[in-house]
Structure formats: structure tokens, C-alpha cells
Symmetry: C2
Subunit: 303 residues, 2 copies
């Protein structure tokens, strides 16, 4: 099942209590694409980079079977750069610097051969750009959207308009409270699902994730990791694994949605074990299935 | 299976964003005893109250089948009083007033007919008093202990000495980090289990609970409630339901421990739906089994 991924690509400088990593390939679409690439051979990436995006970066994506024909390379421009420092508890971070560079003028153009993609994943970018993507694709079976507080606060109306065309919406608990205006997550979920997305996933970081559908609520635990080196990209990686499993399953029902949440959680748990995409870009399918099994075991009760 | 419960009894004045409740019967042992009373007919309560502890309070306990012969009633004294106000998010509260009264001189005396109790539950009181209780009982099959940051900071050595004689230790995530000195819960669990308790439960409030045993980790979700009126006693109620199920099951293994965590979570989810012990004192077994089933469904994946 073909997956179109649209979002940001960036070079990140990341500092955590465990060390630092500079010039590491990042960006929402990078994490989503890498994560979903373990489940599908048809990952089509659309984004914009500068001429500092080198062969080894393209190679990293190609080695994971990601189609980069949709990447716009701006010859005289620089790729989006972001740098941050995580606090001791790793749950909070300070953005030290943001240089949008070529990303400031990003105008997603979906190549003809991408427009028939069955699944469309809109990474965390301006909701107006997300809308532009939806205007170019020919009715996909599934549209997944991710966002962040920056857009919820900055472009709430544009976001809500875009949400009307979204099937599955992924955001974290504080963003859900912000968008709904209600501190209670169950009430928030009802309010947000009324904005359009029938399926809603609220990520709770180290506390797992909640899946809301017409058939009820699914609570996925977080994997109790002994060491978290870098949380960067965990949310996008979750989305990629979630989406990837659905594409692999080829059908969407409550059982597959619940499994997809665990696969997304499994991928995210790998992501944070090393800096940037280091771990994510070098996984074996067997590791993924093992981690998925550990997630099942975490909440299993033998009868 | 007989259960000895030792802890505090109090009258609470509670204020939450949803209203207030004054002079409501509370205290750790009250919540533990009421919660476990739905699973066992042999709940034996030891604590101290003043002559302001009236017939209707005894009646409430007796109506739930709780044996109160172990309650010391101090004729010229007043019962422990505590008043608090919860913040908007209900996750934090301010203690407005604490009057220990007769509880200040509490010296637990275990009646002869209680000393053979199979299970002993030490509610959140001074670890030195918890030790005094263990000195009076004749080798119980199971000792469960609850505590709080007040004792972890105030009497760490006494607490650690007592923990050496404990089978199951229940505390919350911030207390676990405080006691272990490690922010990571998996590492905290290993450090704390090395202090004595083979089985450890770390409560995470609205995020569920983690069970650590020699056989691995179990992650229990929290029930996504639409309205939480009063979190007071939820932790003690959890302990009571957990303990109660184990007593009812009559055997202790990983499966029963995992089920017990869900029954404890189910009881806690009822507790917070009304003020004080109001809901907890008036439940039907069927409701409890239904709520338990909803907890199972929360993390179930059909195959």
C-alpha cells in the first residue's frame, strides 16, 4: 500500500543529559518515512531541502527504500535547522535556535506519480500547507494528520478546516487540552472528534497513548525503558509505525488500529534509545516484532 | 482469607473544583478496609479515634462487614482531622490544616484474635508503628505496605528497616523517585525491590500503575473517567482492592497479581467519582466486575 509523507526535513543539534548530537538528520517527515519504511515498500516523500542536503542523506533514505523524487532541492538555499536542549527529566526541552531557511517558502508540490497514493500522512507543518497537499491528491483511502501547539495557537481556524478532511488525527495530551479547551482527555477527545477525525490518538509520552474510535477507547502502555537518550522525533516515529502497520495490514478496523498503536509505540521506543534517527535507520524486522510482543506482554493477563 | 488493616482514621474537609465535603470519614485504613471489604468477609481494622467518632461511623464500617474491635476509642480525645484543597487539574492539592489529635499518640495494639491474620496491610503511617505491628503478628502469609513522601524524607532509615519485612510495597511515581534517588522508574524499581519487597507497585495516578515482579513488568492503564470529583483516598482504595482480590483468589502468582492491580484500579476509579468514601461505601459486586471488565477491554486486542 503506497504512502505519501509530507512534512519537514531538518538538520538538528540536540543536547540531552546523556550527550549531544550535531547536524543530525531530522524533521517530521524524515522520522515518519523511516519508521513506516519497515512496513511498506512504497514510501513517497515530499519536502524541501537545501544544497547542504548531501548524498549520504539521500543514501540514508534510499537505503530504507524511501522514494525521494518528491524532494525539492533548492540550489542556493540551506536546509531547515533546529537546535534544542532537553532538561534533566527529558520531558521538557528548550528550543535554542530555529532557522527555517528553505522551509520558510515550502510550497508542497505533489508529483503526478504520487497523487494516487492510498494513504496520505501530513506531518507537523502549517495547516494551510497540509490543506494544499489534500487539494492535490486524488481521494486517498486514509488521511492522517499530526500537528503541534504552535499551529493550534497560531492558526486554529485553518487547522480546524483541514481537520474536516482528516480520518486519523494524532496529537499529544497537552495539545489536545489546548485545542479542545477542556482539561479532561475523554471530553477533549469527544470535542476534537466532532471537528472531523473519526479516529483520534492522544499521545502521553512516557505514559503511553490513548486511541479513541466509535467502538471505544484503547489504552496503550509506554515501554518502560531504562535509558532514554533522545526523545526527538518519537512522536513522528510513532505516527510512521502506526501508519506503516495499517498499510501492511491493508484493512482498517478496531483490531488493526489497536495493533497499529502498539507498533507505533514500539517504533517510538526504539527511536529514543539513540540520538536522532541513528537507531531508527538501522532496525531489523525481527527486533520490531519482538518489541511489539513485549508491548503485548506488558498488559497481558493469562487466563 | 482474613486481612488485618492498620492505619489512620480521620475526618476530612475536602475542597475540589467541583464542590466541597466537610467532616467526611477518611483516613488510609478507612479507605483500605472499605475497598477490600467487597472481596473478603474477614477485614479486621486497627486504628485510633476520638469520642467524636459516632455510631453512624461505626455503622458505616459494620455495614460493610468490617470488624472494628481493634479500634481504640479515646474518650477525652478528638479524631485526626485533615483538610485540603485540590487545584484545577486535580493532580495537586494544598493541605490547609492537619490536627493529629488522638492519632499523635497512636500506639497500635493488635488484639489476640487478630494476630493470626493471613494478610497484613500497613497503611500509610509512621514506619516505626508499622514495624510495631509486624512485631505483634504471627508470621502472616503476606505483608503489604503503603507509605508517602513525608516518611521517605522524615524517617528513611526506619522505613528501609521495615521494608525488609515487606512482601508487597505500594507507592507512587514521585515517591519511588524520591526513595530510590533515580528519575527512571525501571531503575527505581530495581533499587527499591533490593530493599526487600519482591513485589513492587508504582502508582502513576491518572496514568495507571506499574507492577514489578521477578517475572517482569505489568502496565495497568487508568480508567479514562469523564469526571473526577475527589481524588482523596484513591491510593488507599487501590491498595484495598488489590489486597482484596489476592485474599479472594487465595493464591499469589503473576496472573493473580496482575488481576489484583486491575481490581485495585477499578476500586480507585469508583472512589474518585464521588466525595470521600461515599461511592466506595455503596457499591455492588456486579458494578465492580463490570468495571474490571472495562479495564480488561481497555488494553485488549482481539486476534
Amino acid at each position: 500500500m503506497s504512502i505519501l509523507v509530507v512534512g519537514s526535513l531538518a538538520f538538528d543539534d540536540i543536547e540531552t543529559p546523556f550527550g549531544r548530537s550535531d547536524n543530525t538528520l531530522g524533521g517530521s517527515s524524515t522520522y515518519i518515512a523511516l519508521s513506516s519504511s519497515y512496513f511498506s515498500d512504497e514510501i513517497k516523500l515530499v519536502g524541501v531541502v537545501g544544497n547542504d542536503f548531501e548524498d549520504n542523506h539521500f543514501r540514508l533514505l534510499h537505503n530504507n527504500g524511501i522514494d525521494t523524487k518528491g524532494l525539492q532541492v533548492i540550489d542556493n538555499g540551506k536546509t531547515f535547522r533546529w537546535s534544542c536542549r532537553y532538561h534533566y527529566d527529558m520531558n521538557t526541552r528548550d528550543t535554542l535556535d530555529t532557522q527555517l531557511n528553505v522551509f520558510a517558502d515550502f510550497n508542497p508540490h505533489i508529483p503526478l506519480q504520487y497523487r494516487e497514493a492510498k494513504y496520505v500522512c501530513l506531518g507537523n507543518i502549517d495547516p494551510e500547507l497540509q490543506m494544499k497537499v489534500l487539494d492535490q491528491v486524488s481521494n486517498p483511502e486514509l488521511v492522517i494528520l499530526d500537528t503541534m501547539n504552535f499551529w493550534i495557537e497560531g492558526k486554529p481556524e485553518e487547522l480546524k478546516k483541514t481537520l474536516e478532511r482528516v480520518d486519523i488525527f494524532i496529537l499529544n495530551d497537552s495539545e489536545a487540552r489546548l485545542l479542545s479547551g477542556d482539561p479532561n482527555l475523554v471530553k477533549s477527545a469527544r470535542i476534537i472528534r466532532n471537528m472531523g477525525p473519526k479516529t483520534l490518538i492522544i499521545k502521553k509520552g512516557e505514559h503511553g497513548a490513548l486511541l479513541f474510535t466509535d467502538n471505544g477507547i484503547f489504552a496503550a502502555p509506554a515501554y518502560p525503558l531504562e535509558s532514554i537518550y533522545d526523545p526527538t522525533g518519537a512522536g513522528d516515529t510513532f505516527a510512521g509505525g502506526f501508519l506503516g502497520h495499517l498499510a501492511r495490514a491493508g484493512e482498517i478496523n478496531d483490531t488493526e488500529l489497536r495493533k497499529a498503536v502498539l507498533y507505533g509505540s514500539a517504533m517510538a521506543s526504539f527511536c529514543v534509545e539513540k540520538f536522532g534517527t541513528e537507531k531508527l535507520a538501522n532496525l531489523e524486522l525481527l527486533e520490531i516484532e519482538d518489541r511489539y510482543q513485549s508491548f503485548l506482554d506488558l498488559s497481558k493477563i493469562e487466563e
